[in-house]
Symmetry: C4
């Protein structure tokens, strides 16, 4: 049996997100050290661990939101496919500015650190923008959603995605104009905040509430 | 429950395309620079960004066409499996000539640039050829397609694939004989053109038209 | 048709575990040698082969346990999703301490070897801890499991996971205080022991017993 | 809905084979050359292209046989899961001796070339052995196969797998005792022969015969 458009888009997205989230963790390598210096070298890598943990959490939140959105989608048109491919393209970019920030942290040049957080802010804003496009398409095409989903459901998801675009750009601006470290802290907090307040997760079936 | 031949071929193809499209994006690395030179280094990489964007678009179009074709396939025989494996083998090759073109662009040797676009043209033509074989097999075996699909459907897909073979080879010839840059521009335009005019996408269910 | 939460979590977990287990094996590279020295170089890599075999076995046991647990799960809530994402995050870390131990084995510095086995013990304990969280969540939420599963089933899985946390930390302590080699041997034995005694495997349908 | 044991084993195997077959092709890199030397460098890599083509064909045949076998499997027990995991472990090893042979071909040391083909022969024999174990398990457990499958079906698959073990070891012996090149040629022919004569492919539904 041929799988439906939704089934294949979900399987394809699962594969893409699984590759990005796994390669992120697999990139951890044993540090090069002089004999006897392993412990210090491992401890000295803590910013890398923090960056990996933050990226893993972010991608996990994205997967949960993706899954949550697709349980409400009955059918896909070509516009929704392209929106989904846009989300996948931008989330696959995330490891790149993450690696740039880790690199600038090592050399400690303030100009480069500003460029690094600006790059991260742009990619983060693009990712929120791709979700905004995705939700807007669904809001304009209620015929694509499951019958039991309220027509206003995906319209109500839009402001949160739009806020994300603004927040990432604002964090980048603060990082460039004030100090890069403030931007880095906001980058870690934003996905946690989005994860905890996710609409898709709040509106789960009644018998699962209060967990 | 064991999945059908179609289901497994789709899942296997999804995994292969997901790996190729994701590793493409993940290959972006922070540039090596002197302190303070990050911004210039990032901006200087623009041909790489363009090449990645073009490759991502191309592979996304291929995935959409693949999905579109398989919604019309009811059953697979060994010939269709091998045609599909041929498509997967050639699309997985795409990052290779892409990387060769990026490399020749960096050194700027005109002889090498001609070789680069010729290689890309050959791989692009092979990819169109593998689709031509795939569509021809389906055109000769209507018993493999879903009942509601017109017998002439896949026969009508053949000229577009055949044109692709000719167009890629012609672009390569122009690149070698006139200037490589012309070929590179055609390589970016071709998949966009194929994406916009895709038969599978035009013939979508009535209620999705006009999106 | 949109896949259920359970279906997507299983597909996503399959993809993550498949990537980790495959990249592990694919990391084997031809050794760099002087002409004529290949045989000696290949034989000299035996600790690497052993480490890969042990890691493959460990991840295979984890996949079997994961599959076994999910045949008993009817529905997922957000807590169970996060527990599952925690298991995936820690199992994807496994190749890292494995590579560290292989590296310390090559240089042969005893201090570094102690750090290596301590790191492995911590990651191994974290992995068992993530299973403990997963089983505890299911034990507290019988409404998530299939009807034919006894309410006490996942509660009875907890002591084995808790024992794993203790055993890994104990092995690490012995490795640091007595000798790292003892810890390495325990790291190879533990997953085999867990594989052979797995609850999920013992309680298989009657007609499959005695295999 | 939780997927059955068979469904998950198929999805997991698809992911592993997709990763191995794709990374194989993706490993092709632009050659490092002096300006103007690209064409010669690309043409000089022909043994690498041949090795990749042969490995791709081999893995494609394995995937087809795997798919073919699983359409006849109704249910999996733990022994069948371990047999399947054994097949996956050995097929993921294939790129390793392939890379070793390519490397020894570059240096051209005859002793190393003998070691290379011997290594390939051992891994090839192990792969056939893992299929032999898989088929034997199914032959002994007819309760695991679909009802319409003859009880003798998997018993009849065993001699071909056993022959593979012998043929790979014989090819390796010829490569070591006579000349490595003879072994390399046999390594390319063997999977083609197995692909063309595959039992699972011969016994396809009547209406697909003669394709």
């Amino acid at each position: 049996m041929t799988r439906s458009d939704t089934g294949r888009a979900e399987a394809f997205s699962d594969a893409v997100i699984a590759i990005v989230i796994t390669l992120l963790v697999l990139e951890l390598q044993p540090p090069e050290t002089e004999p006897g210096g392993l412990l210090a070298a491992l401890l000295g890598q803590w910013p890398t661990y923090l960056a990996y943990a933050a990226s893993y959490l972010y991608l996990a939140v994205i997967w949960l939101n993706h899954k949550s959105a697709f349980t409400r989608i009955r059918e896909m048109d070509i516009g929704l496919h392209w929106s989904n491919l846009g989300i996948l393209a931008t989330l696959a970019l995330l490891p790149w500015p993450t690696a740039v920030i880790i690199d600038t942290g090592k050399t400690g040049n303030l100009t480069d650190e500003r460029v690094g957080v600006a790059l991260y802010a742009i990619i983060g804003a693009l990712l929120c923008l791709s979700w905004l496009v995705f939700f807007s398409h669904l809001a304009r095409h209620p015929e694509l959603t499951e019958e039991e989903v309220e027509d206003s459901y995906f319209a109500r998801e839009r402001p949160r995605a739009a806020a994300g675009v603004v927040l990432y750009l604002a964090a980048g601006a603060v990082g460039v104009l004030v100090h890069p470290l403030i931007a880095s802290v906001i980058f870690v907090i934003l996905p946690v905040f989005y994860g905890l307040t996710s609409h898709g997760i709040e509106h789960r079936p009644t018998f699962l509430r209060g967990i």
